[in-house]
Symmetry: D2
Subunit: 446 residues, 4 copies
């Protein structure tokens, strides 16, 4: 099976014939602008591919400053002409004919979009644009006027990364080394420490990994999830990843634990697949292993300690500042938390996840926002569940399970969206009620 | 390798839960409209997939009249509001900020586009939209107000059928029966008469076939080309397809003949891949079989006789009406043409292909327009080359070779586009000059 | 994945350098003998491959008489030397040392075996030897002295076609045309009448086909079985193969019917795989389709009418000759059998299958011998089940079901082998008892 | 693609039903003997598979002493009966009929062979017998009476590992981790130190690796070779494997260097594939990379220093003991050798490889025996080419190139075999002549 890369490559190799020597001798930062103009006016297929390839090559090697300059150029040039837009809008108001509608669409679309579409014709064009967006997103934080470029780029990427085009593939010890080492590179939650660790996560039959791929980037996972099949609901990530663990048969397992979900392409931020990935994996696993009864995550609570610190600083009279500070101190100490305080920590974390929300009703904790937004339910809260440095500092060691019940995802998703209702298990509800009662007595712990 | 179909299917099977019974009891023609509205306002993923699937199911089973009604509904509803458009245009004129630009884009995009994007989330959504466009194109011929729907649909399909997503695959006797029988169904130029004929075109090593596929429709070829590897430039399609032909080794062949190119999906009209297919196949074949020296077509001239008839009816003093009528009569007679007239027929056909053009400079003959537009060159003109009924009636048996010379495609493409210059071989040029001289003497033939 | 064919081919192409011109100019029938001698004494690998290839080429093109001559040569030459054998036997009797045992083995093994092993080194050597054995088996019928060649050849093929080397593959409409057309060629029970018929047997999800393949002959099925998934136990092959049948979902089916089993390679006679094929397919299907409850055949009874004719001709007083002759006449008439006689025909067929045995206790009917020998049970006997010409002539239209119950195969196999007990269902037992009773009254039918 | 393992596994899981409880309660060492007897007399297929599996399971868990006991049992039992053999030999002398020949073959074949054939029916039987032979070969060194078992086992394995059954597969960074880690385990020449080293040998396009596989052991390479594509003939293994090497394009390379060949299965000793592997890889590489001009090894000289020590101890008057001892001392010192002595070392090594032979004319050095026996030529001798501890101790750092010239392999192979002629390049011949001249002057070095 060959794709178009062969011919694209052939065209590109003869590419320089399409670019006049005078242009080629320009410095990169100005040459790329000339090429963009030429690309937009080019009519030939071969020359278009060659120009696009050369422009993307130049882009790759620009300095940071030159890249910013290039984006500023893109933001200033290639906008719709206000007078054309206005004329088309007036005509459309006068007569909503198909022709007027088409002219309106045409006059409003920034030429930038067509430019980006043509850059996409270069070999590996899509991947190179994803990488370009990585740079762009970084710069847009401080240069909001670049936002318009990202509007165009994201519009196109959303169309190209249409979820109907994605393929789910398991990644395991039978996968190629080339693919497997991508996991090491992209794992964002619990670092994979070399090939032995990788093997522990991908070889045993009670450990699984799945990723989404796109046809234009067959070697680059977009997002992947690591799964452990267990007998019980897990309450500790260190336990789950123990080096000396003895693998066991997946057929006996009742619980599938999603213990790590990593987005691989920073340039695809906001073009999200994670929700669908988990649902697809739940569907696939439950078909293959009919014994499975529970599908849940073992997830960090990255904003927990920070939320306590905020509460302390904003502290009002109902806040038990002393207790909150004690938990913050324990987190900073980085040691396992004793039984006396463990329950307090769990209560506070549950309260944070369930009740700390943005104005529009979404949970403040980013991981909670993702899973609860998918329609999952906050199932359990565990103390001393992540004793790593990061786990202690961010969350005093707390981790939680979000439960994926396929039959209830949609309703829970709607309830959160419409009424801001966070789905909680009976245990977690009880935990929060208990906290409420205790905290009225002003003391959460001795 | 699984794609998202599993989970989509699971969602769809429980689909009816997302659609209220009151809606389900509506007649299809009104139910589909309600579903479209619901789909546009839906926020949930699962319900969206289920609504889209149900709407497409209803669509499939509508009567011809109901389909027209549905399209009229789509054309009237879901247009941008003129006042919003105008307000956004005015704001944009006042200040070309990113925010204003985004609002402009948003106000100008018909909701129809978003509706179509969401219909695409149904299982096999893309294929079902391609089929829907087949209906739409038929209706638009007589109902130009539907054009706006096609503008939206074609915009989306062009993005999804981005040529970077296409895969080239050979189809031969080692391909699956399922794939091979598609060739029988879709062959549009020289009918494949059952499996024995199919085998003659796909099994011998000196016969090849290639097709483009899209990842969302892996069993549906988009376009395919049939190739014969020969020792000489062929001058007869019947000879090329002879049943009792003895296959020979491809390694000895110098000529690759593209003798049939068929678009398979009427719903992808105007989203063209044919040009790229030929170029890709030329690239692949020349790598695999370094002996190949010439890549050319054996093509019909579908508009030849019709052009003569027009010339006769419009006839001015320089027209040799008598000769033209003789050729028209020979075509109608449907028999091989004798040596005396063969040269005349060739001259007239060459003249037609090279000189009969639309105002904007493109050749009138549709096959010539395609190949010359790709940058091919008119290489040779053969009499008695297609003795089939169609071949005689349309072209008095004439077929021609268009030559694909990779190194010259771009320049020839540009020359045709910019100056209207048709690329001709020396032989064909001589043929046309000879015709000119003869015709000055007012008689092309005795 | 490449196998050794590349290098073998390279060697063979330069093959002639290993064969002196004097030899090459000999007539084929004598050249092949010289090459066999040279091959046996050759020490080099490349020359060995080239000699083997050339010998097998010559063999293929020999006339029928020359082939016989070649086999006679093989049978006369290349035998162990009696004196060597005797000496080795005496030494071994004196001292059963490893060395003496090795020498014994060496002196007793015909050089022919080594010759055949070396012929096997030619490209496609194994397949070519299988084809050679096809010739040999035909000739051995009338020339028993050639038996010794087959003893050697079969010994080697049994080792190479070790069942651990076989691969089971489904063949269906997704298989290559190349593979599918082999089914048409090799189907031995119910002829496949072209591609439409083939599609009816391989495309619908309630029709399956499986074959065994060997790694050295990846395009040649060794044996295949066709399976129908049905709701009821079938009692008519015409019904099963009806052209206008509407396929249905396999998930609902309870019965898997093996309605045709064909050995593909005559040259592998006696190197049997059929038994294992059915058991493997039963195992695979029951895993994929847990709803399946019954696995049985719909099988012909090829020896039925012939057995009646023998009984008539040998007729003793207990034989109801009149009835038997009536059945024979009905078979010859070739028409469906009326209800009055249908029961009689079923009784006689059941009796034949259960009671007509060879002296060593195996059923006389070859199909019964195969299935009962595998441990299947005679489950039901149907009249008017095969109305084809062959079905009527051989068996008056009778077909039967043999039931494969994996848990009982071994015990039934042993019972037949040790005590000659044929496994019968209750129904068939009752049918036979009824026949016994009726026949005591001397009349099976009015 | 499924092979028979599914059904074998199903049979084996129910296996215990075929083995009476009385037998199952025997201690393993005696139970295995009973099972062997039962297996030989078993007639059923399923019971045979179950018995074989159970016997092989028991075998695996036997202690070393029990294994020896088991082999002694196999060696004593299951031999041909001398009287039967003698009777058959006498009959055969009297009449060489096919029947007598068959009886002779039958009486001479040890029942052990049939037992081993039946053990092979167990799941993964072939692999388990290969592993058993590993044990057997170890024991046979001190227990020559076990030789007869190996005679049978090797006879069978040679037939099953017929080179027509082997598949060549590249192993590279796109291979599965499961396959790649086998290289680390089996590399026998230049240790692979973890995944980074493995990547350096398999990922760059100018490094290749190829292995032979057998269909019954698809995850176990039989033998593999590592190849470096270089611009020059390499003269140092450390240079070739340098960590900081910059990979380059294979298209420019003229030399393919086989720098490591490892047999993976000790139990297949003497069932050799290495020679064919190199020839096949030469054939494949020269087709893929037409630029390649030279195919040669970079090989150790494992017996060099030992040969010098022997010469010293046997020293006669023509031996320059002093020089030899100097080289031995340098090897022991383990440091790079200065220019003054380097030439001497090269001379002595060339002399050793070319002239130190066993009585039957084969080179004493095992690596030389392998490559020269394949028909390669001793092309160059390098000092300071392997500075590893092993390289210094065994060969004072010397490595050599054996050149594979496909066109001359056969002739060189024959010349060595028939006349004991070692193929030498002009350079190496000159080196040896020089040594001869110098050594006449009694001093090889100052």
């Amino acid at each position: 099976m060959a794709n178009l890369n062969t011919i694209l490559q052939a065209i590109v190799e003869k590419g320089s014939r399409w670019i006049e020597p005078a242009i080629q001798s320009e410095p990169p930062a100005s040459q790329i602008r000339i090429l963009c103009d030429k690309l937009l006016s080019s009519k030939g297929e071969a020359s278009g591919v060659a120009l696009a390839d050369q422009a993307l090559r130049l882009y790759r090697d620009l300095s940071a400053d030159e890249k910013l300059g290039f984006f500023e150029f893109l933001a200033v040039e290639y906008n719709p002409a206000p007078s054309d837009v206005l004329a088309a809008a007036e005509d459309y108001q006068a007569d909503q004919s198909s022709a007027n509608l088409r002219r309106l669409a045409h006059s409003c679309e920034p030429q930038r979009q067509e430019l980006l579409r043509r850059l996409n014709f270069a070999p590996q064009g899509t991947y190179r644009l994803v990488k370009m967006r990585e740079d762009l997103l970084r710069l847009t934080r401080t240069k909001p006027e670049l936002q318009r470029i990202d509007d165009d780029l994201r519009h196109l990427l959303s169309s190209w990364f249409n979820r109907g085009f994605l393929t789910l593939r398991p990644i395991n010890w039978d996968s190629s080394a080339r693919e497997l080492e991508k996991l090491i590179a992209y794992e964002a939650v619990h670092e994979i420490k070399g090939w032995d660790d990788l093997r522990r996560r991908t070889e045993p039959a009670d450990r699984r990994c799945f990723a989404f791929f796109h046809p234009t980037m067959p070697e680059e996972p977009l997002v992947f999830v690591e799964v452990a099949l267990t007998g019980e609901i897990p309450n500790s990530i260190q336990e789950l990843l123990r080096e000396d663990r003895v693998p066991s048969l997946p057929e006996d397992k009742k619980v599938a634990v999603f213990y790590s979900i990593s987005n691989c392409q920073a340039g695809l931020k906001g073009v999200s697949f994670g929700a669908f990935l988990i649902k697809q994996v739940v569907t696939d696993l439950s078909r293959d292993l009919p014994n499975l009864e529970l599908f849940l995550t073992l997830s960090p609570v990255p904003g927990f300690i920070k939320s306590l610190e905020e509460k302390i600083s904003l502290g009002n009279e109902t806040t038990d500042v002393e207790t909150l500070q004690a938990v913050v101190n324990l987190a900073a100490a980085g040691k396992p938390i004793g039984e006396d305080m463990a329950q307090t920590v769990r209560m506070l974390a549950a309260d944070y996840l369930a009740n700390d929300k943005h104005k529009k009703g979404t949970p403040k904790d980013p991981v909670a926002r993702f899973h609860l937004g998918n329609g999952a339910c906050l199932h359990a809260v565990h103390a001393n569940a992540d004793l790593s440095e990061r786990g202690m500092q961010n969350a005093a060691g707390v981790m939680v399970n979000y439960l994926y019940d396929l039959d209830k995802l949609e309703a829970r998703h709607e309830a959160l969206r419409n009424e801001g209702t966070v789905a909680l298990s009976r245990d977690v509800s009880a935990l929060i009620s208990a906290k409420g009662k205790v905290s009225h007595g002003k003391k959460l712990s001795a």
